[in-house]
Amino acid sequence: MRIVVCVKEVLDPDAIGNYALAGGLVIGDDGVSIAMSTVPRLMNGYDEQAVEAALRIREAGADATVAVVSVGSDLTTLLRHAKALGADEVTAIEPPAAPLDGAAVAALLAAHIRSTGGADLVLCGRQASDDDQGVVPALIGEELGLPVVTVARAVETAGEGAARVTRVTPEGDEVVEVDLPAVVTVSSELGEPRYPTMPMKMAARKVQPAVVTAADLGLDEAALAPRVAAVRQSAREISGDCVIIEGADAAEVADRLVARLIDDQVLPARS
């Protein structure tokens, strides 16, 4: 079985959050990118879970090859991390210089999947923590004519040529089955992904990820021209109007707060 996991490198969302809180997010001269070399780059959290899901399928006994692929430049560190986690193959797809949208990224990934003989299962994180768009998996599905099962907390093989997926829905867990090949997106409810062991990390350091260009995949700039162009990014400004309730001790604070909430009709008076 061939499992392809699509991963994205993003800026550490926790660092982004902290900088944003402090009013310290810096947008670059292009008006779009967050230009902060102090923020670590790492694998998108949900994509780590997608890698974990693939490894669990292999460990459950499926004769599976786990191939991790990512679109971008300077992805050696990211892909060595994927190798250290246990990926069998790691590939970087070098895009052309111009900015890409979700459709272009999906076109590159789909073309690569086709060119390597197809996949039985394509796993992706449900969305990337930088743009939160979450469109690439569905677009890969449409491009390859595959069903797309979203927000999985568990993915297992179900007999020959099918997968059973537990989805996280607002109504609780739903279990579905789908014939392979299929695209499945993974959510954090899958659980904590593994950390690479030290020996795996050491071995991965020697690995040179395969590199494929857009031209290799037969996709030129025209084919990858974006339909959605990021024009301007800005940090959100939230300023508040908060009344701080004080008191000599916790009991007094609580009494004052409840009295205030009743006064302001946030809570009903004696019911």
Binding site: G17, A251, L261
Partner: protein, 329 residues
């Protein structure tokens, strides 16, 4: 030909998504006006109650109703097929979906099928020189991104309807309501439901009062302080994502951008820092009360009332005070 902005809805597992529909129609009306075009409402599956009246109130020019038994929540292949046939027939300028759980798998698939642009999580859609731009939430809510949409239509946008305030049109319209037939005979869902989801008990999305706990609680045993206050207030207990990830409580109680979007009258945030990813799930609350040991915590920028203190001390006192004053909603 008049350009059309088409708002697309269908009944969910829990019924018709009324507030989301009204918010989407409100947003759609604005975009249609900016384009000098018309607002249409495309209803897939069973018609919601008062469909024509709702459409009229929101100034829609027309309601197109496709009532086929194959259409319904989770019927993704049928939904995408019906939408792409409608698109081929009518060539609307824009499809606008509320950003609901049901719509999120459908919108990008539709754009892929049509070969057109898709933007998710839009807060606003503007028109400049006849071109559409969408302002979308990014980085977990910490930033906003303006996207310019290019290429031929119909473009696809999902709107963050939980933060858009529905507003009736200044003048009601007299919409043309039509039953539209679409041939879905060739469609068979490729995803088979083996075990349906069923909620046990009330949902935090429907709660009037929520008491949410975060890392400031310290240890799992302290979560009962949240539950006790919630009970005293006649509400439900909820949690931030780290607590759910650590297994303190079920994910159905998770508030946030990848959890549940709630809109209670009262939201008590105990030991929660106020990161944007969390606030996206409760910013629509009428009143937020924050308890945090850090006076600089971001939560105080969102809260109307704040207590700088240890939530493990404050929560039990609040429970006592609420019971003494008989102040449950």
């Amino acid at each position: 030909m008049t350009e059309a902005v088409v708002v697309v809805t269908w009944r969910g597992v829990r019924g018709d998504p009324v507030p989301e529909t009204e918010a989407a129609l409100t947003l759609g009306r604005g975009v249609a006006a900016s384009l000098g075009g018309e607002l249409r409402w495309l209803v897939l599956g069973p018609a919601p109650e008062g469909m024509a009246a709702t459409a009229a109130r929101h100034g829609a020019a027309a309601v197109d109703h496709v009532d086929d038994p194959k259409l319904g929540p989770g019927r993704f292949d049928a939904l995408v097929e019906a939408l792409s046939r409608y698109a081929a027939d009518r060539s609307p300028r824009l499809f606008l979906f509320p950003n609901t759980f049901d719509a999120r798998p459908v919108a990008p698939r539709l754009a892929g099928r049509l070969g057109t642009a898709v933007v998710m999580n839009a807060i606003r859609v503007d028109v400049a020189d006849g071109r559409l731009t969408a302002l979308a939430s990014a980085n977990g809510g910490n930033t906003v991104m303006v996207y310019a949409i290019t290429g031929p239509g119909p473009s696809v946008v999902t709107a963050l309807t939980n933060i858009i305030v529905p507003e009736d049109a200044p003048e009601p319209s007299t919409p043309e309501v039509s039953e539209v037939a679409v041939d879905l005979s060739g469609v068979e869902e490729r995803i088979r439901v083996v075990q349906e989801a069923h909620t046990e008990g009330p949902r935090i999305e429907d709660a009037d009062v929520l008491v949410a706990g975060g890392r400031g609680l310290g240890v799992p045993e302290n979560f009962k302080l949240v539950e006790e206050l919630a009970e005293a207030l006649g509400g439900l207990a909820a949690a931030s994502r780290p607590l759910v990830d650590d297994g303190w409580i079920d994910s159905s109680r998770q508030v946030g951008i990848t959890g549940r979007i709630t809109r209670p009258a009262l939201y008590v945030a105990a030991g929660i820092s106020g990161a944007m990813q969390h606030m996206a799930g409760c910013a629509a609350a009428k009143a937020i009360v924050a308890v945090n040991t850090d006076p600089d915590a971001s939560i105080f920028r969102f809260a109307r009332y704040g207590v700088v203190g240890d939530c493990t001390e404050i929560l039990p006192e609040l429970t006592r005070a609420v019971k003494e004053r008989g102040a449950s909603r």
